[in-house]
Subunit: 493 residues, 2 copies
């Protein structure tokens, strides 16, 4: 490693690049080896880092040793360890060596493939790998480049929803005669369980918040969206002179993992000519296994579908696959062709220019990591990975179910167990389970989060961190029981 | 390295993580060592990769050797080499070992810091490093957390513009009484040189394209936006019952590097109460040097300012710093607080939850790389880096200027030389220079792009790739002369 020195550095010298990068590899490998020693959720106080770091940049360079020492002493204590095997919160960001290698190549080449010519391999590999992934999910050929559609890698689902909303909005405005004033008539639909980024995205593209319809869900449908109230809402809006144009269905909602009935919602969407988007951010990964593919039944009725390999598909952050049936609607809405980007390939219309399929101009070469994740594991291992997580989830669910003090609040679909400690008095339930969750999380031995559906506060345990093994779930269950015992003593006094 | 095997892989085993990562480091270091051997702009035909790769995913895993062999044989020929020392196109994506190390740590930890609690270090380091960067640029304290404002790292300028547009739009709608129908009255302003993503962003947030005013620029002001026509346009719109609400000024436009007069535009913005955003995507990096800080004079009159360390600040893609004077407008527009993200830290309002400062929920820990770039080089080396690029640009400009066959079309501000081969007949100019550029780029020995301002087609030569040295500019100039000589023979026949 190089020493602290005041003479100008060569910022990209291959020799020091190799030495310093390998030192960081060792640092990260050590982190993985020791990851179980850290409290899963960080225990720092707000503002802890401001107190530790200088308030302005150093004039002279620091050595890598000093920087890594600071990462160890100041950054690691402030991390909530998403790669910990005892991280059961939110939905995981599962990473892998293969995903990491892809990120390294992406960052090492550091090309910006906004159009084909700016790096043909970046565009073409993305198109190829989106077709691979689409075929693994058995998407109809209408979503594939080898068929009549196509796909793109965005950073997040929110971006996919923003772009499809903008495409559908501009299509609807054109069909209404091109008068932009009609934007205030456009109405969007989702369920009250749909991820909040849907509302954020709809507002972002200028849909009035008074035109958001969130169809109510309940225990009766395990919190999936029913087609009947959706149809009624659409009919109501049409009668009021409004223009329904977009519906977002979810496979695996955030709070409790509900699955909307795609085929039935698709029929309604088609009848009223709404754009149907399917958000399969987390659960989509499972659909590569034949036994879970049924979640996507009816996908042929949708206009677009997205899922995030960065959640449960071993692909390091960030990576959201979006497929659309008619890419021209995305391009119509998002394209622009300034003179300074003119080139013969774009003019020929024989290439994909991904800048017209996303919000920004610049883009990282994210396809590399998804390509390497798929090749390095192979479909066989990827299915094995999904199945072993589901098997762990079943085991954990069985532990909860056979303990009379607990109950499963909404039946498990895949790897999310939504459960609570049963209160003696229903009114105590929220407080009791909130205290239980706090006690578990502050132990530092595991991290889970919560959800509220149908007025019931429950704990979410999601299986899916790459390093999680059976023993970690046994430890978790012991921890939950230990904290529950203590709490129940207090509440039953 | 591991061999091709059908038995399940351990996706994140620390030992194979180390071995495979180091093999990829060696691969990337080799790439840098040999980068001058590749044609700078890729020479592949459209569809080349589809012909080389299988059309569906492998069932069994491939070995890393096989994957790296394919990267070498199939991906490298399709890259346009942004890290080549002879890459003078667009604006560079300058990378460095330090930026790469930061990317590795980001990808290795793979935390998702959407709110403070989900990884306090990710949020706090971002706030600290934005203050560091803001102080290096001598931004007023009204843009810093240590003052009354604050900053965030987005992926790209387009995202920064989308978010500030949404914040300004919602502020304007509230001031108009909260009626969403007024969205069709809102008007945005920029110059005809402003990056096209401004129009894309404005349309994305629902501003009618008929309400985009692009102030005409000309040779008289070296293509910077004049305050007088801006004032007239604003007055006109107010008279027509419209509501001017946002203006985007640029420091260093894309085509020819024009610099808008911030102080004068700021006065107009303040007078009419418009949100002023300053896009200093490329040129912002230079403002850490006292001799170039004057470009930002008047920044105190702006509401927001952004610049991209991923362009000229040795920070690997992607990294765009956005500072805002009143973060609450961003948060008002972009926040949402679903039950499943509720936590005591957010409720206390004592923390920053960056999900409310950006489009998406999920976010990578990008602050690490900017922090390491700044610390590993120190402000001294970073200023040296900017100054040596500008010195190279001056040398190249001198070569062009002293050759009578060429002319500088718009005077250089920083590192963009905008020049053309003088035609015998003005009508031939576009064709002649287009042919010259094609001849240079197809040689594979350098890559530049073009721009058109005031009807004049000219070649853009931007200095700033990390590996560029004086000899590469000498080679470029020889190449230009060689191709020009040949072309002039044809045209002067």
């Amino acid at each position: 490693m190089t020493s602290n020195s005041e003479k100008p550095l060569h910022p990209l010298d291959p020799v020091s690049f190799t030495d310093e990068s390998k030192a960081v590899i060792d640092f990260i490998a050590d982190y993985y080896k020791n990851i179980e020693k850290y409290p899963v959720q960080s225990k720092v106080e707000t503002g802890y880092l401001t107190a530790k770091l200088p308030d302005s940049a150093p004039y002279c360079p620091d050595s890598l040793e000093d920087i890594l020492e600071d990462v160890k002493e100041s950054i690691l204590p402030g991390l909530t360890h998403w790669q910990s095997p005892s991280f059961f919160a939110y939905y995981q960001a599962s990473s892998s060596t293969a995903g990491f290698l892809g990120e390294m190549l992406c960052s090492g080449f550091n090309v910006v493939g906004f159009n084909w010519i700016s790096s043909p391999a970046a565009t073409e590999l993305e198109s190829i790998v989106l077709d691979w992934m689409g075929k693994m999910l058995k998407l109809p050929s209408s979503f594939l480049f080898s068929g009549t559609g196509g796909g793109v890698i965005h950073g997040t689902t929110c971006e996919a929803v923003v772009c499809t909303l903008a495409a559908a909005r501009d299509k609807a405005l054109r069909e209404l005669g091109g008068n932009w004033e009609n934007i205030t008539k456009l109405v969007v639909y989702a369920s009250d369980q749909t991820h909040f980024t849907f509302r954020k995205a709809a507002k972002l593209v200028g849909i009035p918040p008074s035109n958001f319809r969130l169809i109510q869900t309940s225990f009766a449908t395990e919190f999936s969206m029913s087609p009947e109230p959706l149809r009624l809402a659409i009919e109501d809006d049409i009668e009021s002179g409004l223009v329904p144009f977009y519906i977002c269905a979810t496979i695996g909602t955030t709070a409790c993992g509900a699955v909307d009935p795609i085929a039935e919602l698709g029929k309604a969407a088609n009848k009223y000519k709404l754009w149907l988007h399917i958000d399969a951010a987390h659960a989509g990964s499972a659909c590569i296994c034949p036994e879970f593919r049924h979640f996507l039944d009816g996908v042929e009725l949708a206009n677009s579908v997205s899922m995030n390999p960065h959640k449960w598909f071993l692909t390091n952050m960030d990576c959201c696959c979006l497929w659309v049936k008619e890419p021209r609607y995305l391009v119509d809405s998002l394209s622009s062709n300034p003179e300074y980007l003119e080139n013969n390939a774009s003019k020929s219309k024989a290439v994909v220019d991904y800048k017209d399929w996303q919000v920004a101009l610049s883009r990282r070469f994210r396809a590399l990591k998804l390509w390497i994740v798929i090749r390095r594991h192979g479909v066989a291992n990827l299915m094995h990975h999904i199945r072993s997580d589901i098997s762990l989830a079943k085991q954990f669910e069985a532990l909860v179910a056979k303990d009379d003090r607990f109950e499963i609040v909404v039946p498990r679909k895949l790897v999310l167990i939504f459960f609570r400690l049963k209160p003696k008095h229903e009114l105590d339930s929220g407080e009791l389970n909130c205290k239980l969750l706090d006690a578990i999380n502050s132990s530092g031995r595991a991290f889970m989060t919560h959800g509220v559906v149908g007025g019931i506060y429950a704990i979410r345990c999601v299986i899916g961190a790459t390093l999680t093994e059976e023993r970690h779930l046994k430890d978790l269950w012991n921890l939950i029981q230990e904290k529950a015992r203590f709490l129940l003593l207090q509440y039953n006094e």
